[in-house]
């Protein structure tokens, strides 16, 4: 049995009160409860405050480039689809710099779990507006207020074919832990958008802000209903935040559709040596 301590690396350096602390604890709790060890999983970290979890979480991991954690994770999954692959990224990281990768990973239904620390600012570069920032948000890069409307991660994932879309809140570690477990267990692309207060730079989207505007999806909510899910994702426009699995289906994952690896992982296969088979066409 693994314990939280097995996953605990360096003590976190996040600001006191930062939502990342809750996310970090929830991830370790979820992995422990799933009886995984640091050797059983691969984690890809983006660059940003969220990505700094690289030193606080023990696992086979790549601390990748800003925005590129998703393709890196897809590569790991293709090579060894038997082990869970988790991406830890920020909103600027995943929806801004890496937006293209995000939507194509949804399309491909790559079997990775993407945990986005959505604090609506660029924390590590001192608070510039992120793609998820509310319209009019004033920051160092948008002193007169951001002109763009916020990106809607849940709606984007839903329309691009992600098969598990959930939202949770850094202030509710129990819920967060449960959602992460379900996301890792899900076969296919799973998005966990975590509403995360940045206590240092974002004075608007605070714990109080989310406590007042978020609510747990009721038990009777049907997560397989696409139209209903679409309506839920659009509640962002009214500053309402449903928590739970907004959408889930059982579309086959990318690696489930590759005949090359139906009998075992790519990394464990024997070398191909039928060279004359491929040479015929050149004679």
């Amino acid at each position: 049995m693994s314990t939280i301590q097995d996953f605990s690396g360096y003590p976190p350096t996040w600001c006191p009160g930062c939502g990342n602390h809750g996310i970090g604890i929830a991830i370790k709790s979820a992995l422990t409860q799933m009886n995984l060890s640091p050797s059983d999983i691969s984690v890809v970290f983006g660059i940003g405050c969220s990505g700094n979890m690289n030193d606080f979480l023990n696992a086979y991991a790549i601390h990748s480039l800003h925005g590129r954690s998703i393709p890196t994770a897809i590569g790991i999954k293709l090579a060894n689809h038997k082990n869970p692959v988790i991406v830890i990224a920020g909103d600027g990281d995943c929806y801004g710099e890496g937006g293209n990768h995000f939507l194509h990973a949804c399309r491909g239904n790559h079997d990775i779990t993407v945990i986005v620390h959505d604090n609506r600012v660029y924390g590590l570069t001192t608070g510039q507006a992120a793609p998820t920032a509310q319209k009019g948000y004033r920051s160092k890069s948008t002193p007169s207020g951001i002109i763009e409307v916020p990106l809607n991660p849940l709606a984007l994932a839903l329309t691009q074919g992600a098969s598990f879309i959930a939202q949770t809140f850094a202030g509710n570690v129990t819920h967060l832990t449960e959602i992460i477990k379900l996301a890792v267990q899900h076969k296919g692309f799973s998005l966990v958008n975590v509403l995360q207060p940045c206590v240092t730079f974002n004075k608007i989207n605070t714990y109080k802000y989310y406590q007042e505007r978020s609510y747990l999806l009721p038990k009777e909510y049907q997560s397989g209903n696409l139209e209903q899910a679409m309506t839920k994702t659009m509640e962002l426009n009214e500053e309402k935040f449903p928590l739970g699995i907004v959408y889930q289906d059982d579309r086959p994952a990318f690696t489930d559709q590759l005949t090359q690896i139906k009998d075992g992982s790519l990394v464990s296969k024997n070398r191909f040596t039928g060279f004359d088979l491929i040479l015929k066409e050149f004679i």
Binding site: A61, S64, G75, A79, N80, H101, T259, R271, F272, I283
Partner: protein, 575 residues
């Protein structure tokens, strides 16, 4: 299969060596397309200026290429396209009413090629046996009717020449008994080489002239078991491959200059995380979109300098299809041994030109190839040195593997992720030996020195000096070239040799980094050194000077998007 390749394969199957070159604009339909095939008893390494048999499918072909006709060249044409009066200077005119044959038999326009092929084989003294076999192979799925119809068209063209132009026929293309050959392009050779090397993931985004590698490897994946991913952009391409390589499988990507430009941030990531990766870079003329379907060696300095920050990388540039297979295999070994990016440079000329290679030679390459995965381990001994210096309390069941352990040769043991009992991170930030992020001055220096040491280890361990063609000591003229320019110089050397000129070629395939002392020994004094490069800036010349101090003042450079003609090099020296 394009008609030009059909001709190349027929000549190869009859026992000749071939070399071909295709010219086409960046269009899907139309534009002026040409296909040169040279067949010879000897190995053919490059183009040839004089045309012995010109097949005109339209008038533009004659207009554009009449200046290249040999004195006794055969010109095959359709009287509908070309009025015979404009061919006054052509000695051997062969009129084949291709349009009329098509109309009479109700064939499609594209089948004109088949008639022309029949006529060409007749004009060169071959029979239709091999063409018929290829037609059968090509149209097997379409049924006997299509096969018979194509054969009929070929026979019409063939008979037209046999019956009306018997005196013009040159019997130069006849069946010989020789060893079996394969006919491959540089892209085919890279594809084959990557399969031999046990590359298990190839990721790419289509970009001319590298795209056919993606198509070839994708078509083979059910046989070979390789996973071929066409990702959303080149950034995703290389980061995917870095992920799969980290996870323990040999991984590769392919692109051209523009796509490579998008990849370079991740080249740097592979550098600091010490992740093996093989990058196939087929150049075309830039900047930006440039001339997509033409050729240039214009990305050398960009490639060797690719990626921000300082880290070792290895750049190889094969000169022909045989070297492409061999160096592709070697590239995967070097990437694993030195845990760093290895870039194989090709260009449109090498990537898309076919060359024949003896099947026996191919079998030898496979037999002699040994996979060397360097310091990759998937099981750990109880070696205490492997164990992190972190305090191990009895509660801790997994150990932080020292992924970036400082070693004599700069290369650290690499553990396949998933190995029970361990974990580690490959870190994009500067890191400690155990992978954790650091900004400490001493640790930074340790890791930079460690990575740089791999350069020295490579130069002593695996760097190969350039190959010499000809006798440098006896030569009056010594050519210096890299990559695909090898072929043209070899052909120029044949011509110059026949004129009594003594020449040699120093050809570099291991283009970066270069070993100063080993190379200086090759460049002996009092010689006329001539640099031959398919670019405007003499980039290899600059690199050679930077790395070894050797400066070559005389340069033959070409940068109009076309490859060199051997005759251009000969004319330069004879002027």
């Amino acid at each position: 299969m394009t008609t030009g390749l059909v001709f190349s394969k027929i000549a190869s199957r009859l026992g000749y060596h071939i070399y071909d070159f295709v010219q086409y604009p960046s269009l899907i339909r139309g534009g002026h397309n040409t296909y040169d095939v040279i067949f010879s008893d000897e190995i053919q390494s490059g183009l040839k200026w004089e045309i012995d048999c010109l097949v005109c499918l339209n008038k533009e072909t004659f207009d554009q290429h009449k200046n290249r006709l040999a004195k006794d060249a055969i010109v095959i044409f359709d009287p509908v396209d070309i009025d015979e009066t404009i061919l006054t200077e052509v000695k051997n005119k062969v009129a084949v009413p291709m349009e009329k044959i098509l109309t009479d038999l109700k064939g499609q326009a594209v089948m004109k090629n088949t008639i022309a092929m029949g006529a060409s084989l007749a004009a060169l003294g071959a029979d239709l046996e091999e063409l018929f076999k290829i037609i059968e192979e090509q149209f097997r799925k379409k049924g006997q009717e299509v096969i018979d119809f194509n054969k009929q068209l070929a026979k019409k063209g063939y008979d037209q020449v046999k019956n009306n132009y018997a005196s013009i026929i040159k019997t130069v293309l006849q069946k010989k008994t020789t060893d079996e050959k394969i006919v491959i392009t540089g892209n085919d050779a890279f594809s084959i080489g990557s399969v031999i090397a046990d590359c298990r993931i190839y990721v790419a985004y289509p970009m001319t002239p590298s795209s056919s590698v993606l198509a070839t490897l994708a078509a083979w994946q059910e046989k070979t078991g390789m996973i071929v991913r066409h990702a959303e952009d080149e950034i995703s391409v290389i980061n995917t491959a870095i992920g799969s390589s980290f996870a323990g499988v040999r991984s590769s990507v392919g692109t051209s200059g523009g796509g490579f430009a998008l990849m370079v941030e991740a080249v740097s990531l592979a550098g600091i995380t010490e992740t093996p990766i093989v990058i196939f870079l087929s150049q075309r003329p830039g900047p930006a979109t440039g001339m997509p379907t033409w050729t240039e060696q214009g990305d050398l300095l960009f490639t060797i300098n690719s990626g921000h920050g300082e880290f070792p990388k290895i750049v190889l540039a094969p000169g022909d299809v045989e070297e492409m297979i061999e160096l592709t295999g070697e590239a995967f070994n070097l990437a694993d041994i030195y845990q760093t990016p290895v870039i194989i440079m090709s260009d449109m000329l090498l990537s898309e030109s076919h060359q024949s290679l003896l099947k026996r030679r191919f079998d030898d390459i496979i037999k002699s190839y040994q996979i060397n995965r360097g310091k990759l381990v998937n099981k750990i001994s109880n070696d205490k040195a492997q164990i992190s210096n972190q305090i191990q309390s009895s509660n801790i069941k997994t150990i932080n593997f020292l992924r970036y352990q400082v070693t004599e040769d700069g290369i650290s043991p690499r553990l396949i992720p998933g190995t029970p009992g361990y974990y580690y991170q490959a870190n994009s930030y500067e890191h400690l030996e155990d992978g954790h992020t650091t900004e400490d001055s001493k640790e930074r220096i340790k890791q930079v020195d460690k990575r740089n040491k791999k350069n020295t280890s490579y130069l002593t361990g695996h760097f190969q000096t350039p190959k010499i063609y000809g006798d440098i000591k006896a030569a009056e003229i010594v050519f210096v070239a890299w990559g695909s320019s090898k072929g043209v110089v070899l052909e120029a050397q044949k011509i110059l040799g026949s004129q009594g000129k003594k020449t040699a070629l120093i050809h570099f395939t291991y283009v970066y980094p270069l070993d100063k002392e080993k190379i200086k020994k090759i460049f002996i004094g009092n010689k006329r050194y001539v640099l031959v490069e398919n670019n405007s800036d003499a980039q290899f010349g600059k690199l050679l000077q930077q790395q070894t101090g050797i400066e070559i003042n005389e340069k033959i450079l070409k940068y109009d998007g076309r490859p060199f003609w051997p005759e251009e090099i000969v004319n330069y020296l004879n002027k």
